[in-house]
Amino acid sequence: MAIASADSAIKTSKVARTFIYLVLLLFALFYLLPFGIMLVNSLKPLEEITGGNMIALPQQWTIEPWLSAWSTAQIGVEPTGLRPYFINSIAMAVPAVAISTIAGALNGYVLTKWHFRGATWIFGLLLFSCFIPFQIVLIPMARILGILNISGTTYGLILVHVVYGIGFSTLYFRNYYAAFPTELVRAAQIDGAGFFQIFWRIMLPSSGPIIAVCCIWQFTNIWNDFLFGASFASGGAAPMTVALNNLVNSSTGVREYNVHFAGAIMAAAPTLLVYIVAGRYFVRGLMAGSVKG
């Protein structure tokens, strides 16, 4: 898993290297531009946007839109800004990520280290569940949440995200644990450790990278989800994305684009942070075999 693997074997000339850097920088620009534009425009007064050039830097810098989006923008009948919804999102994403990751870890552990007949089938079924279009589950899911009496609450949303997150988290952990030495499990068995003791004491402490990958992935998906959030938790329990949508898509009335941009960046901030801080683990985790899938 060394960072330089193709090291000495592939050599490139100076011209080629210049060219490579050029291409890479161009692409970096390509990736940065749209987001950069949002950032720039979130720092302009509204008139400059509706009347002027999107790509130009602000003539008059202002952080007013940010303040507004955070704490005073009109989301529903109250000018609360995105702040309360941000907290909702955290309250939803953290438990959902934690539960689906733990469930995925346990599943991966069972599927690789306690192989029994039909396990492959179960895994296949779990895996396929990653790929269903979510629109089709809205109506029946609503019914079930109603029956469970958690419709419209954060708990309901956590349940939904856990349910549809298990497929991917199981996939990640299964692929990681497949390469984990079975001998360790056997040694622990002989040492008298039970099923859960082996999991907590032996497997989990060695799962750092894959826990990171799985958390990043789940967090991104859950945080960014709009469909479930809007359908199952609108109102006071609404997550950030739904609030952002209410902010951006208000039907009639003046559109404060700069505030919208600020809000959009705010809504994306946690995931961006996670990617930038923990992105290294992502590639590393992919290398640990989870590429497959």
Binding site: I3, S5, A9, L125, W223, G293
Partner: protein, 301 residues
């Protein structure tokens, strides 16, 4: 890889419990999946044979919804669009992802900085991506306008307003969002190749180009496959991006099966037709995924 077989018979309680524990632990996930995935799929299939309109109803109407579905022009458009979108999206993402991975693998200074830049769009929701690109591509205020302001008057880029070209803007935005992820997958693949093989190829006198074409790319097969699967399911499921970027327009020029399904089920109160389009989508996904899963799981056994 069996750590224990169930050894029943005279086993004491604790032993028996230990033998059942794995299954007990897996059971909730299994149950949840059976109900929330396969149960719901069955429900949708059932709905597609009913005359449900606003809410589910249970009067069977045979294949009527499917017959209607295929007579609706928008469905044709949606399917055609999906074919264009999916193939371009997958191909371009793969090419760009692979290229960036290869370039980034040349012991690049600043890799630690570039990699997150390439990867970060993955962190954004499709809604945000769509909104950002919508602005960027809008001729009146985005890139075209900027070029004009900078004095390049003849510059023209109005695909997003053009029925024929609008679908390609969706491709651009989608590629922007996912190609970094594909890059990461290929990078992981490249880093996994045995360095000695590269040395051997060098001894054999392979040029850098030949080395990639003949030795390295063929070994990236698993990465190609994974990328293909992930991209194709994203393509088939893509909904948010289209809604945020073009709203399916101009006209319904950028409708995709996912937007079609949503619109028929939830906006147009024709849940039966929506369900039948969902079934078709599911069948398409299954046609791609099942062989892959089958091969993958058999191989790993």
């Amino acid at each position: 890889m069996a750590a224990t077989d169930p050894m029943l018979g005279g086993a004491d309680f604790r032993t028996r419990l230990q033998n059942w524990l794995p299954k007990i632990v897996l059971a909730p996930s299994f149950a949840v999946m059976v109900i929330f995935v396969y149960g719901f799929i069955a429900f949708t299939v059932y709905l597609s044979f009913t005359g449900s309109r606003m809410l589910p109803s249970f009067d069977l109407v045979g294949f009527q919804n499917y017959e209607r579905l295929f007579r609706i022009r928008e469905w044709d458009t949606a399917v055609t669009n999906l074919a264009i979108f999916a193939s371009l999206y997958i191909i371009i993402c793969t090419i760009i992802g692979l290229m960036l991975a290869i370039l980034l693998d040349q012991k690049i200074r600043g890799e630690g900085l570039l990699r997150p830049i390439f990867l970060y769009p993955m962190a954004l929701s499709f809604i945000v991506t769509g909104t950002a690109w919508k602005w960027f591509l809008d001729p009146a205020i985005g890139i075209e306008n900027t070029m004009h302001l900078w004095g390049w008057a003849s510059f023209e880029f109005n695909w997003i307003k053009d029925r024929e070209m609008a679908i390609y803007t969706i491709v651009i935005a989608a590629v922007w969002q996912s190609s970094g992820f594909v890059m990461a997958m290929f990078l992981a693949g490249l880093r996994g190749i045995d360095n000695e093989i590269l040395k051997a190829a060098q001894m054999d006198g392979a040029s850098t180009f030949q080395m990639y074409r003949r030795i390295i790319l063929p070994q990236l097969r698993p990465a190609f496959l994974s990328a293909f699967v992930i991209l194709s399911h994203l393509a088939i499921k893509s909904y948010d991006l289209v809604i945020a970027l073009t709203g399916g327009g101009p006209g319904n020029a950028t409708a995709l099966p996912a937007t079609f399904m949503y619109s028929y089920t939830f906006t147009r109160n024709q849940m039966g037709i929506g369900a039948s389009s969902a079934v078709i989508m599911l069948m398409t996904i299954a046609a791609i995924m099942v062989p892959y899963l089958y091969a993958e799981l058999r191989e790993k056994k």
